[in-house]
């Protein structure tokens, strides 16, 4: 029962490079989310997806791209990494149930350092 996994767990890259963070869930949850966590800002939503091929922007989408070709995967790409994107990134998923109020389950996070 793997649940939700993220890879890599740690990543160091340089300014201007493209980086892809992977997220995989085994529950077949409809909804998936990407957050970044920074001191003083809590968790901020980058992008989310309601189903395969349906994605939408969150609070801080600039500089990020997502795709969702399969229900279980939701990769996040930094097209040209900047130092301000140094952060801890969390993927989450939740079931669809009419009326919402579903628990979001979080992965273990990816620590990204952009030099």
């Amino acid at each position: 029962d793997a649940g939700i996994t993220q890879s890599p767990r740690y990543k160091i890259t340089e300014t201007g490079r493209q980086v892809t963070l992977m997220c995989h869930q085994t529950w077949s949850h409809s909804y998936m989310f990407w957050y970044r966590q920074d001191l003083g800002h809590g968790l901020r939503l980058i992008y989310y997806s309601a189903a395969a091929d349906i994605t939408d922007k969150g609070e801080v989408p600039d500089g990020y791209v997502v795709s969702r070709s399969k229900t279980e995967n939701f990769p996040l790409t930094l097209e040209s990494a900047t130092r301000s994107q140094t952060s801890v990134y969390f993927c989450a998923s939740s079931e669809y149930r009419r009326g919402g109020r579903e628990t979001q389950y979080f992965g273990p996070g990816t620590r990204l350092l952009v030099l």
Partner: protein, 112 residues
């Protein structure tokens, strides 16, 4: 309007004390208020949640108090233990979207 303001930023209590973490919101359309607990190096995990039609909810040593008229809710941890040392986040759900707005987090340390 979409913000959730959380306080304090950090909190230190003695073992057995009752730390209280407060959150306030503006958007009266929010319809679900979960609390998440996060240990160092781990992802957040749901601790307890409440709906706005309920004024209090208890699960073990954790209690949420909800004041709809004041647009505030708080987490109380009874008989706190060193193992409760973690970062706590409140959140509010935007109706129909499955999206959460998170507070900025409270780092709690319980001294042995």
């Amino acid at each position: 309007q979409q913000q959730v303001k959380q306080s304090p930023q950090s909190l230190i209590v003695q073992k057995g004390g009752i730390p209280i973490i407060n959150c306030a919101y503006e958007n009266t359309a929010f319809d679900y208020f979960p609390w998440y607990q996060q240990f160092p190096g781990k992802g957040p995990a749901l601790l307890i949640a409440i709906r706005p039609d309920v004024s209090e909810k208890k699960e073990g040593r954790f209690t949420i108090s909800f004041n709809k008229s004041a647009k505030q809710f708080s987490l109380h941890i009874m008989d706190s233990q060193p193992g409760d040392s973690a970062t706590y986040f409140c959140a509010a759900s935007i109706p129909g979207t499955y999206k959460y707005i998170f507070g900025t987090g409270t780092r709690l340390k319980v001294l042995a």
